[in-house]
Symmetry: C2
């Protein structure tokens, strides 16, 4: 492409059983405002000619900092009431990628994932990843920063009713996909994972190909939902394969993969962007916090 | 399929810079014997009507127990001279999968990966995965069991010459793919990772879609090589996508993905089986320990 392409960016704040009856008008407004703020931050990067990678990291950092979503501050609590976070980034030009799982204390897991991308490695986990975070001077925060009163209450209630629930919901994973002026795609995803998770469980978010993927030949994808199923479906890469090998349009590709996820017993959603700027934001759950902003600055956010 | 299909099983013991000048005749014989033993163990499972999943786990357990390969006993040592192991299994009928990373003390990581597959989760890591291993009564061994004199020497020599090497080689990952009488495919991979690895680095082996993948609609794949590149290429799933979406034959699909890996700066190999029993064992490195056994019991092992 010789002429600059039109920039575009989309974000999500998780898909799942988001009931209209349960969410207050105030919370609904706050979620819209947080999504819009994340979009504007990423857009500002793209508008001044910045890279899609910088844009998705800026957007996701902003959603990690917001206590409303299950990533960074406001992450759900594990079985033993800790915060353990996962994140990944990927850029579509050279398919460089970075990911971390089961980290703690690091304010912005997606920032750390990008640092991993800039190292000799792609995927670091647990204490080793935290040690790496110290070596690159990551910003650390205390437990009090990460654990919000709302998540503590959720943990107490879910712990008490554990016998009743089979698969705890994991709403609130955040992600972003973007296309920059150079025509390069990028994707980022960040999550606190499942509430009450044990055994250092890892979902799809930090797994390149499952929850996060970017390839300039096809699309950039960030997923959210029942992580185990997205892992087995290699969901994000399957969307890319369908676009690249079958020449499916982006929305159809996402829909087919979500049907496959459903068939395997899962639900959730995905946001995706292709090199011509098409955006897909699809889900098979009750709702998905989501939004996009175009080159002309047109911004939309939605939940249901 | 109504009539029983012909069983087939293939194994690998890693691809990389396996120099003919360096490996003694005795070691060469031992490697052939270990590959043949692993093939016969898996074959015995398949021949009596067992599942491809049981077969690949049996074969990989046997290679993990063999100190010649970089998995289980004989794993390479990390930066701080520890053993940290990764493994994954997947079966192609329902695309169920299980994986563990950065575990220690567990005699057979691939056995643990199958236990994860039978749990509510797909992917467990580090201390949490070890805690899970205790909860399912995994067999544990001491450091003396895992750390062979040869690996200790390798660690000492590599540590000393670290400044000279940019990317330490990771030869010796093991894996297996199989097709059972029901026409179901399975794949398994196990590794000690890279010598001198730090920060709980994870390669492609335990990542569903990258180093391990199985889908009855296409193929089962186990990869070995420069893990970071196989991760970025989502190599195993890309082979599957090419077979399923482009109807490429198995060997061509593997070769195209290995070319892509090479283009991204990596090398290694893959073994794969499709539902009609075709076997591909391809590599772009100096050699790959590998072998296969057919329904009639024909067995072959090769290195170069």
């Amino acid at each position: 492409m010789t002429s600059p392409v039109d920039i575009v960016l989309a974000v999500h704040g998780g898909a799942g059983a988001i009931s209209k009856d349960v969410i207050s008008d105030e919370r609904e407004r706050d979620c819209h405002a947080a999504l819009a703020a994340a979009l504007r931050l990423g857009y500002a990067v793209l508008a001044k000619g910045g890279s899609s990678l910088d844009a998705v990291v800026a957007s996701v950092c902003s959603l990690e900092d917001c206590p409303l979503f299950n990533a960074g501050r406001g992450s759900v609590l594990t079985y033993d009431a800790r915060v353990r976070m996962d994140a990944a980034v990927m850029e579509g030009k050279d398919r460089r990628a970075g990911a971390v799982t089961n980290i703690h204390g690091v304010r912005n897991p997606v920032w750390l994932a990008r640092e991993v991308m800039n190292s000799a490695h792609v995927f670091l986990t647990a204490e080793g990843a935290v040690e790496f975070a110290r070596s690159v001077n990551a910003v650390f925060e205390s437990d009090e920063y990460f654990i919000t009163p709302e998540r503590l209450l959720e943990w107490q209630e879910t712990s008490a009713s554990l016998a009743k629930t089979s698969v705890p919901a994991a709403v609130g994973t955040v992600g972003a996909v973007a296309l920059d002026r150079d025509g390069t795609l990028a994707a980022a995803t960040s999550t606190g994972g499942m509430v009450l998770k044990r055994w250092s469980r890892v979902g799809d978010s930090p797994v390149i190909g499952a929850g996060t993927y970017a390839d300039n030949r096809s699309c950039a994808v960030s997923a959210t939902g029942y992580g185990e199923i997205f892992l087995r479906a290699v969901a994000a890469h399957e969307v890319s394969s369908r676009v690249r090998h079958l020449r499916q349009d982006l929305e159809s590709a996402v829909d087919v993969v979500l049907l496959d996820v459903q068939r395997l017993g899962g639900e959730g959603g995905m946001i995706a962007i292709d090199p011509t700027g098409n955006v897909a934001m699809r889900f098979n759950s009750e709702g998905m916090y989501r939004g996009y902003i175009t080159g002309k600055g047109h911004l939309e956010t939605k939940i249901w």
